[in-house]
């Protein structure tokens, strides 16, 4: 491979990491915006695949289709999902696959009460027709508690069901 081609490849990989982060942030922003404007998303955002799966690990345990996951957001009347500690890993063998990881800090209003939901996110991405899409969202909760109570004594409280 020529020096020019190698440089092209390195730049393309950097562009991919930005595009993948954009995909995740756009998805989160569109959901937060809909919730905070009192709107219901009737179609999936283009940033997520129709066949995507969402899982929530123990002790909350849930597995949803993308449509079911979006529908579950109807319980929230306020949402800001802060995402930091970003790690994006492009697949070594397939240029159209990647994994992204974040730590979330997510204040929400659920059923008229303030809640804090925070934890670790591992997402899978695939590039289809030139556009990166979420194909799997895995959330491992570390904190899920009413905000007023805080997370000192009990970090995980049931919120789904």
């Amino acid at each position: 491979m020529s020096s020019q081609a190698q440089t092209e490849k390195r730049v393309a990989r950097l562009e991919d990491t930005v595009a993948i982060a954009n995909t995740k942030m756009e998805f989160v922003r569109q959901i937060d915006t809909a919730i905070n404007n009192g709107e219901t998303l009737t179609t999936l955002p283009p940033s997520i695949s129709d066949s995507a799966i969402m899982t929530i690990a123990a002790p909350l345990h849930a597995t949803w289709t993308a449509q079911e996951g979006i529908a579950a957001m109807r319980h929230a009347s306020f949402s800001l999902c802060f995402l930091g500690s970003e790690q994006i890993h492009l697949d070594e063998h397939d240029p159209d696959l990647a994994v992204g990881q974040w730590v979330s800090w997510h204040p929400m209003t659920l059923g008229g009460s303030a809640w804090l939901v925070a934890g670790r996110i591992r997402d899978e991405f695939a590039r289809r027709n030139g556009r990166w899409q979420l194909t799997r969202i895995e959330f491992t909760p570390e904190i899920c508690t009413p905000w007023q109570v805080g997370w000192g004594s009990q970090r995980l409280t049931g919120v789904i069901g």
Binding site: E26, N36, F78, F82, L83, W105, P107, T109, S113, A114
Partner: protein, 159 residues
Amino acid sequence: MQSEQHGDAALAARIDRLEAFRTAVSAISSSGAACDAGPYDPLEATAGWLDDGEFSTDGSAYVGVEAIRAFFAGLTAGFTLHLFTNFELEDGDETVVRCYGLEAPSLHDVAHFGGFTHRVIHRQQDEVAGFVRWQQGIHLITPALKGWVRGPKIADQTA
């Protein structure tokens, strides 16, 4: 030869855009640290702005760096900690970055929690890079232990 030069120019433009994004992210993060100084020292807080920049926050707009300094001079807090997350680069020729802001100010010795959304245009103008437009949405500034349902959703940060 001509094709090779065109390829070099195209590659340089792609690298320029990546560098501009990273520069804007660093500038936004630096502005958080600058706001924490004082807190809200007007000169520190506006160090990253171009002279003709515009800052808008929930319906109010401040045009020109002097007006933006006056806005920051009107804020009071015993302590602030600004954390920017969810960086997103908009498509287009300009460097337009969206992000979220998490804030932990102490107002009148009461711990508060703040949640913000931002859309920022950062530009290289002549030899200077800086903010030309910053649109801020305030979602929460609420007493940390009461939450935003029992306590006020947006506390007055100018009182």
